[in-house]
Symmetry: C2
Amino acid sequence: MSIAIKDIALKLRVSPSTVSRALSGKDGVSEEMRQRIISYAEDCMFQVNPAAQALRTGKGSGLILIAPMNRPEVARIRDEILLTKLHQFFGSAFSLTVDNEENLEYYIKMALAENPQAIIVSGIWHQNFNLLEACNTHKTALLSIDSCLAGHDEIIIDRSTGTEQMTRMFLLSGCSHPVYFKHPEELDTEGYGRLSGIQRAYKEAGLELKPEYCVEFNPKKNDSQLGYEIFSELLKRSYVDAVFAFNDLAALGVQRAIHSFNPASNSEIKLVGFDDLPISTYLPTSLSSISIKLETLIEQASSMLQQRILDLNAPRERAIIPSTLLIRESSRITDRRIIGEIFRQTNHN
Amino acid sequence: MSIAIKDIALKLRVSPSTVSRALSGKDGVSEEMRQRIISYAEDCMFQVNPAAQALRTGKGSGLILIAPMNRPEVARIRDEILLTKLHQFFGSAFSLTVDNEENLEYYIKMALAENPQAIIVSGIWHQNFNLLEACNTHKTALLSIDSCLAGHDEIIIDRSTGTEQMTRMFLLSGCSHPVYFKHPEELDTEGYGRLSGIQRAYKEAGLELKPEYCVEFNPKKNDSQLGYEIFSELLKRSYVDAVFAFNDLAALGVQRAIHSFNPASNSEIKLVGFDDLPISTYLPTSLSSISIKLETLIEQASSMLQQRILDLNAPRERAIIPSTLLIRESSRITDRRIIGEIFRQTNHN
DNA sequence: CTGAAAGCGCTTACAG
DNA sequence: CTGAAAGCGCTTACAG
């Protein structure tokens, strides 16, 4: 068996109480004793048994992040940064991958059973239930990031600000035959979804977002493939001068379709994705995209959790992270006035 | 507080022992009693306290996977599939992200302290130490996947079989000015690294792999950017007809450099990446790449861990997963005989 | 400043 | 088939 506090106590001829106090930094040990204990514990590479500690104190490991298996690469990267950053604060940070969103409740309960200080649910949209009570009995802070656990602390990604800028760009640069990929399952509560931004830009311009501009995009597996298929078909029968491809992966497929159909038309069709994948800047024709400030999100998450831990009963908080259009080669704009117009400040909330 | 076994026992007027036996599926409870207990436990959404269970039995949560923060997307996907697949077998599966490989030892010790049934270390190359003893005292099975914890059960990715095929392709199709990106830190123990395959193909063809064919590729941050920079420079002063770009991300940068320099030369330069990212098929010019059979790796990992748990002291095992070239538009080959030659069977071990 | 003792929630050998 | 009891390793209120 591995070494325990009582082994150290025996060796050093003190009581386990003293060893515990010394190692956990509590008062009530002489500084000299503490140093002796710490030094010996290090020598024999002692580590407290987290299970025993958790059982005794009722508080388990620090943070557990719950995220779905199929999520865009940006979400994976976001979650990992969050995890390593919060590891420092919480002492430990594990993640749990949900293979099927319908099992979310099972996973959360499993996470709660560990009595962690905090749980983050990230990027899960298809399940909505309230766990405030369970969180309270476990004294666990729960933060919902880009997920729909309403009622808990929430960080919402406002995708509409970016798509609004994009749509303005399309309209201001005279695109009259746009195509907007529309995910039938994108929930658009409260106007933060992609579609809301598009609708706002049309309304603002006094124009109508005609139903024929929208194309259903509902990938079961490969976003790029579906983007390619949809657009190959579309190009055969329609003229298109602007595309919003829902995300960068799909935009990649669209780009390939355009390239196969007619390489020359590449520069005539404005193409915009979403997510700003690391690769998007380095495509042969770099891809315009929409992204959020990752640092802002990370900081928000960190501060909201710390706040919640200080007071589990304080009123729930909600932070909104806006998105922004990034103009690259796939939708070149040179006119400075248009650019000014696109990024003009608006407050939709 | 949340509900405990003794609460159920009280309510049902039985002893905690019986409740424990009923819930854990152990013998020694009448079937009728068991059903009554299970049904009540479900009603009140009882979950055992994992900390208490772990403390009592000396065995903690199922599986912990340790992986580095900066890894290619394919590795992320691989790890998540592994995690969800093994979750079923182990009952629980958490992952731990290492922000800095130098901290690996700290993370493994932290994981071991949880007394998990198994630990997987995945994709960590810069630390090598032996933890057999610690694993034995914790009765934890440790599997090293594409990492260098020699002495433990290991799954090795043999990158050389793919690069050997690629190099044959270059040579057989008459490329005389190749460029091979070479990572200075790629450890090449036992001939499984990218470079080994290239060397073997040259040797086999009776040709010399000249030093000027190799270019140092050592990305600190963005692989695509570095690929782009290296290749933009290269094109200015040399003629090139074949490129191995180390990975798909770098290949993307190379592709962009080629495209910027002279779009027409696109089809004259054979370009191959590594990893077979999901996007690589959908680039305007689809990217040739090298990949491994993911299913084989997952199955191996699963069976090796299960084996190890049955017998912690059995001799350590080692499995080798070969890689294969995938020929796409970035290195078109039409001659059937050449294709036959490229994929000719060889045994280098 | 230090130690003896209780108890967190569970499981399991032992007794019936 | 069922229950009483011990104990996993830790922490903390209590006593000195």
